[in-house]
């Protein structure tokens, strides 16, 4: 019987051999052994190298869905040259902010044409990258078409901070939004003039300088952002256009408040500050000698400790009464970032916008959307 089963046994062996042969004939893909955490480094070059290794390796699994070079994949965006377009991808977000958010909260902004829920947050399982690994990835991605230098790395650190502190969660919050409706840009131009917007804002060669230049506002900001700024100017304050408070070295002199027009010779190491101050007769320009200034900034924090009250004036960076406040303080020759701990903070006078919040009572919905259409059409060069 054993001899009779010979052909059957050979047949079975033949089938198995064919299977093994075929399995070895197809492309052999083997993954690398995955390290728990990668070595990162700190310089731009080290970060780019570490980021590239992560991107191409099995730890981050980026290539499972994304691609580089001439290999477009339908599943997720091709990342070739992403550094050159990151700053324009999401209105209102810098390249660093966009790239950081893309990794921590992929569903926050979906590139048009791609489906949602394709990528899990990079700091969560199953990828579970460390924050420094994400930093390296962002620096590498920005280097694809952009410049990943020290200032950029600092921006990434700053954008990452809330995630490192666990203050943010990947799920994007749903907010009630005003709708964006079509309007007539021609009528909007008339409204812009009629309401006196040109008194503070410049469009092209005409207009004031108290508020941000709107010559290219349509190219750099979203419709939602512009609409919100018109109706609620305090929602987002553009840096450099907030009311400043000046405290003198001579305590007898009262505080001065005004809108900054120019820091001379520059903002990084200024010697004088030109302010537009609201006086009884109208607005006046005043030159402030910073050698006589004790403190200057857009935020005033009152702190009481050991029975003594102190005022801290600086430019707002982040924080609140619960977490403490970080301000940028002026010291002769430099700006220094310092954190004021929450204990003892009595009040925080946050910067406010000099733009009056009265336009909601001045315009009908149609006029509002006409104005919006006009502003969205401003895409010219500064």
């Amino acid at each position: 019987m054993w001899r009779q089963s010979g052909p059957i046994v050979l047949f079975i062996l033949g089938i198995v051999a064919a299977f093994v042969y075929f399995a070895n004939a197809i492309p052999q893909i083997k993954s690398e052994r995955v390290e728990a955490v990668s070595k990162i480094g700190a310089s731009p070059e080290e970060l780019v190298t570490a980021g590239k290794r992560l991107f191409l390796g099995d730890r981050a699994q980026c290539l499972a869905c994304h691609s580089l070079g001439e290999d477009p994949k339908a599943r997720c965006p091709n990342l070739e040259g992403v550094g050159s377009r990151a700053a324009q991808r999401k209105p209102g977000a810098s390249a660093a902010e966009y790239l950081v958010e893309s990794l921590y909260n992929p569903n926050a902004y979906i590139v048009p044409g791609y489906p949602r829920n394709q990528m899990t947050p990079a700091h969560k399982p199953p990828v579970a990258l460390a924050h420094d690994e994400i930093l390296a990835l962002v620096v590498f991605l920005n280097a694809l078409g952009g410049q990943s230098d020290e200032p950029f790395i600092q921006q990434v650190h700053k954008a990452q901070e809330p995630w490192r502190q666990g203050l943010l969660q990947p799920e994007a919050a749903e907010e009630a939004k005003l709708p964006i409706l079509p309007g007539d840009a021609g009528r909007g131009a008339e409204i812009f003039q009629r309401l006196g917007c040109a008194g503070c804002h410049r469009v092209g060669a005409e207009g004031g300088q108290l508020g941000p230049d709107l010559t290219a506002i349509g190219a750099s900001q979203s419709a939602e952002y512009i609409l919100e700024s018109c109706l609620d100017p305090n929602a987002v304050l553009v840096r450099g256009f907030k009311q400043l408070t000046v405290v003198w070295t001579n305590p007898a002199l009262p505080e001065l408040q005004g809108l900054p027009l120019a820091w001379s010779p520059n903002k990084e190491q200024p010697q004088t500050l030109r302010l537009s101050v609201d006086e009884e007769g109208g607005r006046e320009e005043k030159e402030v000698d910073l050698s006589k200034v004790a403190q200057v900034g857009d935020t005033v924090v009152t702190v009481e400790r050991e029975g003594k009250t102190a005022l801290h004036v600086g430019d707002y960076v982040s924080g609140d009464e619960k977490t403490g406040v970080t301000l940028l303080f002026w010291e002769p020759g430099r700006w220094v970032e310092r954190h004021i701990v929450a204990a003892g903070i009595q009040s925080i006078r946050l910067p406010s916008s000099p733009m009056p919040a009265i336009f909601g009572e001045a315009m009908t919905p149609r006029e509002t959307y006409d104005l919006l259409a006009y502003l969205l059409a401003q895409k010219g060069r500064r």
Partner: protein, 685 residues
């Protein structure tokens, strides 16, 4: 296990063996494991991962066999009891002898696998114990119950004939239930490693119930349940085929030919249902983690599915070929030879489409010459739209082979004699499932509701928009209404993304078609008595094929989220066709005139080699699927919870995997061969 000896002795001996193995397992888990320090251990020559893989693969192959065979042994026994045909009872007894022989091998390989895990992965096993230790006792208890029931079922077969037969069948049912429970408990551990639930990100247990009922538990339970039946049937058929080839007796050849046919029949029916279960499993995997789903189908394992397609192709081509060869032993079967070539071409072309890869591993120069990473012609066939279409065509064609085989020696009477409507009506009413499924999705489900709400909400939003743009009131006054408009627009956007929205209309059409033809089928059963049944059958098959092909082609022109839903239309159409055509067949050929008895034993030797081929292919497929199921966890022991930091934390190549699977398959088949050899000798003595 001997067929002789008092029941009590059999029971005692079985319990003693069970206790010994359970005792050894308990020693490993509760005495050895707590004393083992460190995360990982290694053995000489082979890496730990390969050792565990090989042993557990062997265990799973035996387990699939001993869980699958009792199911259809029971079904055959029930058929024998209902028809009072002794042949079926003898066949069921043959099947039972087979799996009874393999139970001890299953248990021993399981304990060996446990030992390997405990010794080589102590930290991981401690973690698993911290989650699932209550289930260990349930598992052990069920094993004891299973051992008792097995002895009762096996040892009382001859004694419990006649009046006690249905009691014996009851014991068989309990045996199957306990075996299924065992499988489900073990599946909980396995699927927890793939889709953990009921634990925190740090791995702390929150809910054992959730850990057991994790997202992939039921999909794997269903898939393995059906696959076990298919596997068991195929192995039983292969056993019969080998006996057929080796026997010198005409009478035995006839018996084993029949046994092989029954085994293969069961295997192929289960195989037809497997793609549906596999689709459900894949869908749940994607829903749990898009990343895992992408790794499965588009990443490191994409080429593995090409090999799976080859193996499945062998199964379907082989099964159909066996049936076509079988037409030769049936008087009247030659009437259907004319259909064989067409079906053969359909199946071959469909399998070729299914085996076509989408992404080719090409160098930059090769990709430039092709115009991209995908071949300009074949790349079109490498997508799911084409593969779903191909698979459904194969299922329909295989089903047709069954239908033609079944009616091969029958000449039906027109009009059909009255009576015997129970079975046809019952099966016809089973087709209410696809009718209701389509009906619910077309009229009642979220997608249908969204479809009705969408125009209404669009009108409301439009009217509000126009009113707000025309009002003279200042925006501050109408701000709340403006926000309401924003909310409505947001709702409109979400509504447009409701799952099933784009398919509600399609489901309604399908529900109407299915209900209409079901009505006609019932009309033929109760009124026209077979006069329109033939035409109905062909019409339903043609319509099902048309639905499959139409939506397969349309899938190329719609977005991905719409295309995914089309696969359900295709599956429903095929399922519906199989049910209603079977019902009509039973109805039409009731008391049909026989053109002659099936000449069992009159089969060419190559037909039996096909049965052996199917069994070996099934075995290799089980191993391959085990590789991918385990491998998609990649560098995680428990996906997203317990990282794999062992030296084997990488995915091996397909070639390496094939070596391990092949070795396990050969050892399994070799041991099975010895077990059956021992069983055959014992039978003769």
């Amino acid at each position: 296990m001997s067929a002789h000896g008092p029941l009590r002795q059999e029971l005692a001996w079985s319990l003693l063996k069970t206790a010994a193995l359970l005792g050894l397992s308990a020693l490993l888990v509760y005495a050895v494991l707590p004393k083992l320090a460190g995360d990982y251990r290694s053995v000489p020559v082979l890496d730990s991962r390969t050792v565990v893989w090989f042993i557990m693969q062997l265990h799973l192959m035996f387990a699939a066999f001993v869980l699958g065979v009792p199911i259809f042994a029971l079904i055959v026994e029930i058929v024998g009891a209902a028809t009072r045909d002794e042949r079926y009872d003898r066949l069921a007894w043959n099947f039972t002898q087979l799996f009874a022989l393999a139970v001890m091998a299953t248990a021993v390989s399981g304990v060996a696998g446990l030992g390997a895990l405990v010794v080589l992965y102590p930290k991981f096993m401690n973690f698993l114990g911290s989650i699932f230790s209550p289930t260990y006792l349930a598992y052990a208890g069920t094993i004891v119950l299973n051992a008792i029931l097995l002895v009762l079922y096996y040892a009382t077969w001859q004694v419990m004939k006649g009046r006690l037969k249905w009691l014996h069948i009851g014991i068989g049912a309990l045996l199957n239930i306990s075996g299924t429970v065992l499988m489900c408990i073990a599946n909980a551990w396995t699927t927890f490693m793939m889709s953990p639930a009921g634990v925190t990100e740090a791995g702390k247990l929150v809910s054992l119930a959730q850990a057991i009922q994790n997202p992939l538990w039921w999909p794997i339970n269903i898939h393995r349940f059906i696959a076990n039946i298919a596997f068991g049937g195929a192995l039983a058929a292969a056993y019969a085929a080998i006996r057929f080839l080796l026997t010198q007796s005409e009478e035995e050849r006839a018996h084993y030919d029949w046994m092989g046919y029954v085994g293969n029949f069961v295997a192929m029916w289960a195989l037809i249902l497997l793609p549906f279960a596999g689709y459900y499993l894949g869908k749940e995997m994607y829903a749990y983690s898009a990343q895992m789903g992408t790794t499965l189908m588009g990443g490191a394992f994409s080429w593995l599915f090409i090999i799976q397609a080859v193996l499945i192709g062998v199964l379907f081509i082989g099964a159909n070929y066996y049936m076509w060869l079988g037409l030769g032993r049936i008087p009247g079967g030659h009437r259907y030879y004319k259909y064989v070539l067409s079906m053969e071409i359909l199946i071959f072309v469909s399998m070729a489409v299914w085996m076509t890869p989408h992404t080719l591993v090409a160098s930059l120069a090769e990709a430039r010459r092709m115009g991209g990473a995908h071949h300009p012609l074949l790349g079109v066939l490498g997508v799911m739209s084409a593969k779903n279409t191909a698979m459904n065509v194969v299922l329909l064609t295989t089903f047709l082979s069954f239908v033609l085989y079944r009616r091969a020696n029958k000449q039906r009477q027109v009009p059909r004699p009255s009576g015997g409507l129970g079975a046809p009506v019952f099966i016809a009413l089973l087709s209410l499932f696809p009718v209701l499924y389509c009906g619910v999705n077309g009229f009642v489900a979220a997608g249908a509701k969204a479809e009705r709400r969408l125009p209404e909400l669009t009108r409301e939003t439009q009217a509000l928009r126009e009113r707000l743009l025309q009002t003279d009131q200042k925006i501050a006054v109408v701000l709340n209404e403006l926000k309401e408009l924003g909310r409505k627009e947001s709702e409109l956007t979400k509504l447009a993304q409701t799952p099933g929205l784009h398919h509600a209309a399609g489901y309604r059409v399908l529900a109407d078609i299915f209900a209409f033809f079901l009505g006609l089928a019932l009309l033929d059963m109760f009124v026209t008595r077979g006069r329109i049944g033939d035409l109905l059958q062909w019409t339903i098959v043609v319509i099902a094929a048309a639905i499959v092909v139409f939506y397969g082609l349309k899938g190329y022109f719609v977005p991905a989220e719409v295309r995914i839903g089309y696969s359900v239309y295709q599956v429903m159409a095929v399922l519906y066709a199989m049910l209603v055509v079977t019902a009509l067949d039973l109805h039409l050929f009731f008391e049909a005139k026989s053109l002659g008895a099936i000449q069992w034993g009159k089969m060419p030797a190559r037909s039996q080699y096909v049965l052996v081929l199917l069994a070996v292919t099934f075995t290799l497929t089980i191993g391959l699927m085990g590789f991918v199921r385990s491998g998609i966890r990649e560098a995680w022991h428990v996906y997203g919870v317990v990282r794999d930091l062992s030296p084997s934390a990488y995915t091996p190549t397909m070639g390496y995997g094939a070596h391990v699977v092949a070795a396990a398959a050969l050892l399994f088949l070799g041991l099975l061969f010895l077990l059956f050899r021992y069983g055959m000798r014992d039978q003769r003595s």
